[in-house]
Symmetry: C2
Subunit: 152 residues, 2 copies
């Protein structure tokens, strides 16, 4: 009988949120969320990354379920979906300790740094208000070239 890594402790908010909508808490959903939590804030993973890491740590999960779960966790507000990659979406933990923040991406090597800026958040909020939209989130994407990729 194969050895599986132990299931993480149940997540109260996840379980409650799921049951509220008649959904079920499954090991796969728990693992995906815990993967992000274990890695900590500020990690940007693709669906493929998530699948790889889970399979590596002996979690039985299909890529299709990873896609379904990531979409679900975004809808539920546990993850944010980032729009900064050229190829494929990336996901990060939506964490209260690490609120709305922005991304600085090197267009050559893909290195990504984060930063916070209240003025930017305020500007996004104002822009939405002024036109009568209801704000969901606003993020500043800064495209730049990092020191290692700067031509001498």
């Amino acid at each position: 009988m194969p050895q599986f890594s132990p299931l993480p402790k149940s997540s109260q908010p996840l379980e409650k949120g799921l049951h509220k909508d008649g959904r079920r808490l499954t090991p796969q959903r728990l693992r995906v969320l815990h993967l992000f939590e274990d890695l900590g804030s500020g990690r940007h993973l693709s669906a493929e990354d998530v699948h790889h890491k889970l399979v590596e740590s002996n979690t039985k999960v299909s890529l299709a379920t990873v896609y379904r779960t990531l979409r679900l966790l975004v809808e539920m507000g546990f993850l944010h979906q980032l729009e900064l990659s050229e190829n494929g979406h990336r996901f990060e933990l939506a964490n209260d300790d690490h609120p709305d923040h922005h991304h600085l991406v090197c267009i050559r090597c893909g290195r990504t740094e984060e930063f916070e800026c209240d003025e930017v958040l305020e500007a996004g909020k104002l822009a939405a208000e002024r036109i009568g939209f209801q704000l969901v989130e606003s993020t500043l994407n800064v495209r730049a070239i990092c020191p290692s990729c700067t031509p001498k």
Copy 2:
């Protein structure tokens, strides 16, 4: 013999930029750029949109060439590639009359509005400087829900 719409006047900046790198000015490249110029600033087209519009106006061009041309025009700085769509990239004219601006997207219906904000640009510039990156561009993506999509 089929009737083709007349070729637009040659674009000096496009022609010069191409020749500088040993590239060639082709009718397809000219048409793609002129499509954006004719539509004016603030239009966000997918590769498929561009292909459709060109074929509609009797321009013989393949989808593969549209993709190749869009990438080229972005590299050359004639177009910007937007990162705001869930499915597929969108492109817009990079116009001096219509400088760095930001996008407000309805996450339900996709309606997109633009706005400008100097504070945001300044924040992006500062963030890049502080970490030693060389700024390329910074845009604020505001995700929101437009009035028609707001639940009553």
